[in-house]
Every structure is written in structure tokens, then in C-alpha cells.
């Protein structure tokens, strides 16, 4: 076309094309992203004012479409500090600790609002918090206690199901320990700070953090999370009973319950501890280190005698199972078929486990029932093992016979060779 032949026009058209292309590109790149002046500045600031885009993108609120202004107020579209962080835009600045629960609660206690985001989320956290030790002390003016952001983090809040969340069951104990294991921080309160260290030695920690069994208890399981408070002394066993049903049922019917209640002793904790709950062994029933009965009872009294009987029964069954196991192992190593007996050993072991649960009734005759059932099975298995050993010995007799036959033949051959070579 004639116009394009003009050099100057061509230059202008090219420039225009480039510019609009550039602008279009800019627009495309910027498409869908609202201007967030807060992050643009604050991502470059050092702590405590710094919040990076990377950090905030992990936050569940950011993913649901909420931004800085949802909590802090202000105007995110403007780069002018007087406008973006001005009173007129409702800027709240750093939220005062005493107001944080109410701020979070302004959404999280509103069922109608929360239903829009996740209908299954509870909305009573704030109400619970008010009943907790943390909530009560905060109301009294103590700002050292935990508020929402101390446990849930802030600006990178993850849902509890996320393994990286500070309130995921596997991480809860570590989160609580940030204050509760800090002796200096906790000095004004006069409560122990060794719970975290003790918990880490416990069988519950082993189940939860090491074996990954999310049904195992952590701090919040027994103490509550939002309504965190130590269970009342008389109520500890209810907490344990939520999982350890049979032990609790036995204990309830036993003489110990009334005795401990009357003495205001915390039930299960008396013998098992609260935080450093170790895997119980039969030594608890003994009279040496680790024995618990003799801490209260007098040697020689009725209870001591009952203890001796129960311990004896358990030891007897344990020994019978081990003996049968050993014999079966030797038989198996010699190539004997003992898999039936091996399977039955599981049932004997189950009986032993049941007997150990029945201990909590503190009645030797009940323990005896399970022990006898287990002993019968273990003895059968021992016999099966011994039978296998008899068979094994028969093999050796067979070997001896064949070796004698071979010896005979060797002697014969040797004599014959001598004979023909003379």
C-alpha cells in the first residue's frame, strides 16, 4: 500500500506496534492480580515488619481471597502511605494482643460467614477460649499468654490437616513447648516446664511422632486446644478412658477409685504419670525399682499379697509363652513345620495382654481367668514344639543308621581293595 512506502510512517507504525504490544503484555501479566501495595513494600522490609509474598501465599486466608486489609484495614491499592495506611481507610496497624481473639472471632465465630468458606468448620473457638486459662488471664490483662497467632502462626496460617501446620497433631507439642518449656518465660506462673521433655520420652509421643499414628494423644487431646486447661484432678481418668476404655471400666469398679477420689489423687496419673507415660512393664507390680503399689501399701497386707499373686500369674504366663517361643524357634531352625503353633502363640500373647488390662480391677481371680486361658494355649504350643524336636531327633537317628551303613560299606571296600592288591 502506498502509505507503507513512506519510511517515516513505517517507523511510526513499528513504534506504535511495539508499544501496544508491550502494554498488552504488561496487562496480560498483570491480569488477575489486584494491586497489593502492602506486600509490595512490606516484602522488602526487615523483621518485624517484613512479610514476603512467598510466605503469605501459603496462608489459607490468602488462598481464600482475603488480604492484608481484611484484618489490618487500610487501602491496598495505593502506594501513598498516608492513603494506604491512613485512619480514613480504617487502618488498624499492628493489632494489639488483647484484641487478637476478638478480631479472629469476628469471622470465625460467625457461622453464617464461615459457612460460605467451609461449612464443616467449628465456630465456637472464641467461646472456648474465654473459658481457658489463656483466655481468662488475657482478660485479666496478662499479655504473655497465648493468643490465636501464637499457636496458629500469622501470615502463613495452614489448616491443621497440613503436616507443616503448627497445629497439626504431630507438631502440637512443639508449638505448646515454645512457651511452656521456656523456664524463664514461665517463671511468673510457678508451674513446671518439664512437660515437653517428659512427653517426648512417653509412649504416646512414640506412637504419634515416630510411628505416625494420628490417633495417639498430644497436649491438646487431654488439655483441650481452644479451651485449654488442665483437667480437674478427679477427671483425669475420664480423659484416659476415651481411649483406654477397659482399663477405665475395671478401675471404676475397683476399690482404688473410691480411695483415690477420697484422697483427691488424680486416678491413672498416680501409677502411670501424666506426661512421661512410659510403656508399662510387669515391674510396676513388683517390689523393686519402678514398683508403684508399694509406694502406698504396707508390705505383708492383703493388697501386697494380692499384688504378689497377680505378678506371679503374669510372670508365669509370660515365661510359658517365651519358653514355647524358644522351643518353636529351635524346631523351626531345624526345618520343622510349626506354623500352626506359631499362630496359636499370637492368641496366647493376646491373653497376656488382656490379663495385663484386667490388672486394673485389682482382683487376682479375674486376672487368673485370662492367665489360665493363655497358659493352656502356651502349653499346647510348647508340646507342639517338643513334638517337633522329637521328630528332629528321629532324623538324627536316621542319619546315624545311614552313617553306620556307609561305614560298613567303606570298611568292606577297603578290605576288598587290600585283598585284590595282595
Amino acid at each position: 500500500m502506498a502509505t507503507l512506502r513512506n519510511k517515516r510512517l513505517r517507523l511510526l507504525a513499528t513504534a506504535f506496534a511495539w508499544l501496544s504490544g508491550f502494554l498488552a503484555l504488561e496487562a496480560c501479566l498483570g491480569y488477575g492480580q489486584a494491586v497489593n501495595s502492602c506486600l509490595d513494600c512490606h516484602s522488602a522490609l526487615p523483621a518485624p515488619l517484613g512479610v514476603t509474598q512467598e510466605q503469605f501465599s501459603q496462608d489459607i486466608h490468602a488462598q481464600k481471597g482475603l488480604t492484608c486489609t481484611s484484618c489490618h484495614g487500610g487501602d491496598a491499592s495505593s502506594y501513598d502511605p498516608t492513603q494506604s495506611m491512613g485512619r480514613k481507610a480504617g487502618f488498624k496497624g499492628k493489632i494489639d494482643r488483647r484484641q487478637i481473639p476478638e478480631l479472629c472471632g469476628s469471622c470465625h465465630s460467625n457461622p453464617n460467614l464461615m459457612r460460605q468458606y467451609d461449612p464443616s468448620l467449628r465456630t465456637d473457638q472464641l467461646a472456648e477460649y474465654h473459658t481457658s486459662v489463656h483466655g481468662k488471664r488475657l482478660a485479666a490483662g496478662d499479655t504473655k499468654v497465648a493468643v490465636c497467632i501464637d499457636c496458629h502462626s500469622v501470615h502463613d496460617i495452614r489448616p491443621p490437616s497440613d503436616p507443616r501446620s503448627t497445629v497439626n497433631p504431630v507438631n502440637v507439642a512443639t508449638t505448646c513447648s515454645r512457651c511452656h518449656a521456656d523456664a524463664n518465660y514461665m517463671r511468673p506462673y510457678g508451674i513446671p516446664t518439664d512437660q515437653f521433655a517428659k512427653y517426648n520420652t512417653s509412649v504416646h509421643h512414640d506412637a504419634l511422632a515416630v510411628r505416625g499414628d494420628l490417633s495417639a494423644p498430644t497436649c491438646t487431646t487431654c488439655h483441650g486446644n481452644h479451651g485449654a486447661a488442665p483437667p480437674g484432678v478427679g477427671k483425669v481418668q475420664n480423659v484416659c478412658a476415651t481411649c483406654h476404655v477397659f482399663q477405665a471400666q475395671m478401675y471404676d469398679k475397683s476399690s482404688h477409685k473410691q480411695a483415690f477420689d477420697a484422697a483427691s489423687l488424680p486416678g491413672c496419673v498416680v501409677c502411670h504419670g501424666n506426661h512421661a507415660i512410659a510403656h508399662p512393664t510387669d515391674a510396676k507390680l513388683g517390689s523393686g525399682p519402678g514398683a508403684v503399689c508399694m509406694q502406698c501399701h504396707t508390705p505383708g497386707d492383703n493388697c501386697d499379697q494380692a499384688r504378689v499373686v497377680m505378678l506371679g500369674e503374669l510372670t508365669q504366663l509370660d515365661g510359658a509363652i517365651k519358653k514355647a517361643d524358644y522351643t518353636l524357634a529351635v524346631a523351626e531352625a531345624s526345618g520343622m513345620e510349626v506354623s500352626e503353633a506359631r499362630l496359636a502363640q499370637n492368641q496366647a500373647q493376646d491373653s497376656l495382654t488382656k490379663a495385663r488390662v484386667v490388672i486394673h480391677s485389682f482382683k487376682p481371680e479375674l486376672v487368673d481367668e485370662d492367665v489360665q486361658a493363655g497358659l493352656k494355649i502356651a502349653n499346647n504350643d510348647l508340646q507342639a514344639g517338643q513334638q517337633a524336636m522329637v521328630e528332629r531327633n528321629r532324623r538324627r537317628v536316621g542319619l546315624a543308621i545311614s552313617l553306620i551303613a556307609i561305614g560298613m560299606l567303606l570298611a568292606g571296600l577297603w578290605l576288598y581293595i587290600r585283598k585284590i592288591e595282595q
Binding site: 526345618g335 513345620e337 506354623s339 542319619l399 545311614s402 556307609i406 560299606l409 567303606l410 571296600l413 581293595i417
Partner: protein, 359 residues
């Protein structure tokens, strides 16, 4: 009765004609005659392996899901299954030991010299095939140790430059050790290797029969100086009866080993589990394995493991062709080869012990 049967056959097949050379065959008798037994013992153990192997075939299920359980079944449910299986496993180890002993005795007694070079070559190939039997058979129970030993072993084969990777794929039946490997190894173990070994044994024995027994050079020299000292015994029946005694001792030993030290079954292989620490091959591969472990990761620009494996292959080739290196000045090379043989024996024993004791 026995004689009557022989006469009946002789009338139809002229047995006398076939057996005549054997009646005349003699075996030189000297201090070192007993070393002549090792070949026969190895052959006898091979026959035991074939017989017990066939018996095991009646109950063994090849295939990743059933192999382990079928061996367990043989060990625990089949009458005398424990005996057959343990004899098979022990005889395998004994056979590899006697094969090595036979090879070293031939080396020291210098029986590989002209005209017996071919006997040596066929014998060396047989030794390699026997170790192949050991390697393939070891996997068949499909237990954890065997699974990982096979993984490591085939991995090393794969390290040979250029041809290694195709060899590894061929051995494994795929990129990893799987049930396909088991099927393949089973095929090698019961069909391919037996076929090859039987043919080679036939050739090896024919050569031995045709050429007679070799006499060690020192004895040869002594007899040449004083012919009256020459001693020989008839192969049939004298030597054979003695050999028979050795075979019966071997059977007795196998029975005792099977009854007193039954072969372990282990734990079923799980391809998804990680290898147990300190995995080692069977003792007959230990000296090579330990050597590879001692080679540094890099020698000049060559990868250490590749160097080791290629080195092993080259040494194997050299060993195969050993007789051809005995030059026109036999005395000097003889001394040289004897020295090499002593070093090799010491090395194999030492490295095996080291590999066994090392972590």
C-alpha cells in the same frame, strides 16, 4: 545274577569291545595320586545335584508369588523334603569347592601342559558354568538375601563397558530384578546350564580318557631316571573302588550336613523393601566382591568398579588360556606359573576370609 545280565548285554552290544580300553587304563601311583580324586568327586557331586534337582522340580513352583512358599512347603511338608533340599544346597557349595580344588591341583601338578591344553580350557569353562549354576540357583528360593545378592551381582555385570548393560538386561529379564528374573534364572538353572555342562563334561572326560592321566614333572623326572620306580594301578577296579570310597564319604558328609545343619530358608523377598545392611554374595564370589570393594572409586580417569570388573574378566580370560603361555622354555615359565598359582590360591583364600570377616 549280575554276571548273567552282563553276559546277555555283551552278546548283543559287544560290551567287551567298549570296556576293553577301560580294563587297560592305568593311573600313575605316587605321593600326589590322591589329588586325582577331585575331578571324580566333582562329577559325582554334579550327579547328586541333577538327581536332587529333579526331585525338587516335582514340588518347586517358579514364580515370585509362590517360589518361597513352595520351598517352605518342601522343607516342612514333603516327606524328607528337608533332606533333599538341604543336600542340594550343601552339595552345590561342596561341588564349587571341589571344582576349585580340582583346578588348583591341576595347576600345581602341571597337568595342563601339552597335550592337555584343551582339557584345561573345557575344565575352566566348566568352572565358570558351575559358578553360574550357583548364582542362578541361589535366587530360586526367592528370599531377601538372594534377591539383593542377585541385584548386586547383575548390577556389577552391567558395569562392563559397552556390552555390560545389554548383558544386565538379558540376565534380569528387564531393568530390575523381578519375577521375570526368577523365571529366567530358573530356565538357565534347569535347562540351559545343565545342557551345556553335560556336553562339556562329555568332551572333558573323553579327553581325559583318550590322553590318560598326567604325571607331575618331578615324578616324571624321577621315573625317567629310574624306570623301575614307576608305579601304576589299574583304573578298573582298583582306582575306581578307591574313588567309590571317596564318593561314599561325600554322601555321608552331605547327609550329616543336611541333618545337622539344615539349609536356611530366610525371609521372603520384598522388592519394595530396602536392602539390608552388609549384604554379601555367597562365599564363592566373596574374593571378587571384596577385591572390588577395595579398589578406590577412581583410578586415574577410569571408574574404580568398572576397572575391577573388567580386570576380573581379563584375569578370567588369561586363566582360561593359561596353558598357551607355557613357552618353549618350559622350565622358566613353569616356575613362573607355579608362582602365579601360589599367589592366586593365597589371594582367593585370603580375600574370601577377609570378605567373610569384614563388615
Amino acid at each position: 545274577m549280575f554276571r548273567a545280565i552282563l553276559r546277555w548285554l555283551d552278546e548283543r552290544l559287544d560290551l567287551d569291545g567298549i570296556l576293553a580300553p577301560f580294563r587297560h587304563k592305568t593311573v600313575p601311583t605316587h605321593k600326589l595320586t590322591y589329588w586325582y580324586f577331585f575331578g571324580g568327586i566333582t562329577l559325582f557331586l554334579f550327579v547328586i545335584q541333577v538327581l536332587t534337582g529333579i526331585l525338587l522340580l516335582l514340588y518347586y513352583h517358579p514364580g515370585a508369588s509362590e517360589a518361597f512358599e513352595s520351598v517352605q512347603y518342601i522343607m516342612t511338608r514333603v516327606q524328607f523334603g528337608w533332606l533333599i533340599r538341604s543336600i542340594h544346597s550343601w552339595a552345590a557349595n561342596l561341588m564349587i569347592f571341589t571344582a576349585f580344588a580340582h583346578m588348583f591341583s591341576v595347576l600345581f601338578l602341571k597337568a595342563y601342559r601339552k597335550p592337555r591344553e584343551l582339557t584345561w580350557v573345557t575344565g575352566m569353562v566348566l568352572l565358570f558354568l558351575v559358578m553360574g549354576f550357583g548364582f542362578s540357583g541361589y535366587l530360586l528360593p526367592w528370599n531377601k538375601l538372594a534377591f539383593f545378592a542377585t541385584t548386586v551381582g547383575t548390577q556389577m555385570a552391567g558395569e562392563i563397558p559397552i556390552i555390560g548393560h545389554p548383558i544386565m538386561i538379558f540376565l534380569r529379564g528387564g531393568p530390575q530384578v523381578t519375577g521375570a528374573t526368577l523365571t529366567r534364572f530358573f530356565g538357565f538353572h534347569v535347562a540351559v546350564l545343565p545342557g551345556l555342562v553335560v556336553v562339556l563334561i562329555a568332551i572333558h572326560l573323553f579327553l581325559v580318557q583318550r590322553q590318560g592321566m598326567s604325571v607331575p614333572p618331578q615324578v616324571e623326572a624321577k621315573w625317567a631316571a629310574n624306570p623301575a620306580l614307576r608305579r601304576e594301578m589299574k583304573f578298573f577296579p582298583n582306582f575306581l573302588l578307591r574313588e567309590l570310597m571317596a564318593w561314599y564319604v561325600a554322601i555321608g558328609t552331605l547327609g550329616a550336613l543336611a541333618a545337622l545343619f539344615p539349609w536356611n530358608l530366610g525371609v521372603k523377598a520384598d522388592p519394595f523393601a530396602s536392602a539390608p545392611a552388609g549384604i554379601k554374595p555367597e562365599w564363592y564370589f566373596l574374593f571378587m566382591y571384596q577385591t572390588l570393594k577395595l579398589i578406590p572409586a577412581k583410578v586415574w580417569f577410569v571408574d574404580g568398579e568398572v576397572l575391577g570388573i573388567v580386570g576380573c574378566a581379563l584375569i578370567g580370560l588369561f586363566w582360561l588360556l593359561l596353558p598357551f603361555f607355557e613357552s618353549d622354555r618350559p622350565v622358566r615359565t613353569r616356575v613362573w606359573i607355579t608362582g602365579l598359582a601360589i599367589f592366586a590360591l593365597a589371594y582367593v583364600i585370603g580375600m574370601t576370609a577377609y570378605g567373610y570377616l569384614a563388615k
